[in-house]
Amino acid sequence: MYSQKVMEHFTNPRNVGEIPDADGIGEVGNTQCGDVMRIYLDIENDIIKDIKFKTFGCGAAVATSSMVTEMVKGKTIAEALEISNQAVAEALGGLPPQKMHCSNLAADAVHAAIKDYLDKRNKG
């Protein structure tokens, strides 16, 4: 059902964990099936220095979380905001059609974390 790449990320997910005192935290949930993804960002000079995630969901949800963290690490926040759900799914060699909605979580969570960072910065 899943590509090798998906299974590889599911088995050895990259960047799992939390960042204490993260600069931005994004949490998104999937109302459709009840999954949750949380992303932590460490940002310096608008560059994503470090990123960690925690995900509750299916294999595709875990793999897309892992993939998105690899894709945005070291990128500027502007670049990270450009990354789409579609791009994450493609980077994994595609997802089964009924699992496309899971990939929506990944990029959305990153975008939410960046927004959180920007909101905090603007306030403070």
């Binding site: 939390e18 099936c33 009840g34 925690k54 995900t55 969901g57 299916c58 294999g59 875990v62």
Partner: protein, 392 residues
């Protein structure tokens, strides 16, 4: 790699003896049982013997058995066939909320066509309560359909008591006995069944064959029209190799049932107790003890998701199933777990192991060795587990 099959409620391997016998009816005794020549007669003879074997295991008469293409067709034939035959008498149907989709979707189809439908709730153990049956019966009720045991949580229903109530009322009673047939005694007289569904591939027979028991005197309309086979109840040249294999599987089930149920029950209890003792925050789904199918283990492991569990188990060669929304094409969690009142999050982490003939204590030990590690790994990446630990 070690492979451990623990999904026997989904399907079972065909017994070698069954497969060998079937092969003869594919390649040597291939006659059409409706033909009058010797080729046809030998096929007919074996077909009727299979019918007697199936009937024997049910305590029915051979002429009360109609072979079908499986449990799904038998459920459809029972419900659609009876509804069509009795629609002049009434148009109200009653089913339980935890029926297999072969029943649920069929009555919902009839509901769209103008029939009235009552869906009976179940208690938290997944069992229909008699009061609910009594309350829901109406003068125009023509059919009540309640499964013998549920395929997901293994809850055994009080079908004999329900059967008595339904018979007194005058409606027909259908039982989907796909999950109990061959595992625990199923007797159509004791259960007061008018219609009863069974399937071969859950009892070490082939896929694509099943049967409907139709009590003598109960009229149903056919779904298939044509050559008039199976006493006009099911037209189409009989799938003789499969039916004969089904008969053989019944014969083997009779010989092994009591001993096998005891053996498997021990494994079930070891597995269930082992899981509960080695993993924190686990909830057992379905009843405990004798109200549970001897081969069924169903637990919800909190803060992890079922498909992730299945994938992780599969990488170790372990085959199981889950009622998680993520494993269903519709992305809804199991209707059975929801009917039992489980919140979505708990249904999400559900995991079912169903034991069978070839499973051993080593298989159970293998699962108990690996499952706690898998859960630990998945909880490490679960934001829900984090949250729980912070707020506790």
């Amino acid at each position: 790699m070690r492979r451990v099959y623990l999904d026997h409620s989904a399907t079972t391997p065909v017994d070698r003896e069954v497969a060998d016998l079937m092969m003869v009816y594919f390649t040597e005794k291939y006659g059409n049982p409706s033909s009058i020549h010797s080729f046809g007669r030998e096929a007919r003879h074996a077909l009727e013997e299979a019918r007697s074997q199936v009937a024997g295991l049910l305590g029915a008469k051979p002429e009360e058995i109609t072979f079908t293409s499986g449990g799904t067709e038998a459920d459809n034939l029972a419900i659609l066939g009876l509804a069509e035959a009795r629609q002049e008498k009434g148009r109200h149907l009653i089913v339980s909320a935890i029926e297999h989709h072969a029943v649920l979707d069929t009555v919902k189809y009839l509901e769209k066509a103008g029939f009235a439908l009552t869906v009976l709730p179940v208690n938290s153990a997944g069992i229909v309560e008699l009061d609910e049956v009594i309350k829901s019966l109406r003068p125009d009720t023509i059919l009540v359909s309640v499964m013998h045991a549920n395929n997901e949580v293994g809850s055994i229903q009080p079908v004999a008591e329900i059967g008595r109530i339904v018979r007194e009322h005058g409606a027909a009673f259908h039982i989907d006995a796909v999950q109990t047939f061959g595992k625990i005694p199923v007797n159509v007289e004791e259960l007061k069944a008018d219609l009863l569904t069974i399937s071969a591939h859950k009892i070490y027979g082939p896929k694509g064959v099943g049967a409907l028991y139709v009590r003598k005197g109960v009229r149903i309309s056919p779904l298939m029209h044509g050559g008039g086979q199976e006493k006009k109840r099911r037209s189409g040249t009989e799938n003789t190799p499969a039916i004969i294999g089904f008969g053989k599987a019944c014969e083997l089930a009779v010989q092994r049932m009591t001993e096998e149920a005891e053996r498997v029950k021990k494994l079930r209890d070891t597995l269930l107790t082992g899981i509960v003792e080695s993993i924190k925050y686990v909830k057992v789904n379905g009843p405990q003890g004798d109200l549970r199918l001897p081969n069924n283990v169903n637990v919800s492991i909190e803060f992890v998701e079922g498909e992730s569990l299945l994938l992780s188990l599969d990488m170790l060669g372990i085959a199981a199933s889950s009622g998680s929304a993520c494993t269903s094409g519709s992305l809804d969690p199991s209707h059975v777990l929801l009917a039992m009142g489980l919140p979505h999050e708990i249904a999400h982490g559900s995991l079912r192991f169903t034991l069978g003939r070839q499973n051993t204590e080593e298989d159970v030990a293998y699962v108990l060795e690996h499952l706690p590690k898998i859960v630990e790994r998945l909880r490490k990446i679960s934001p829900l587990y984090d949250q729980f630990n912070k707020t506790k």
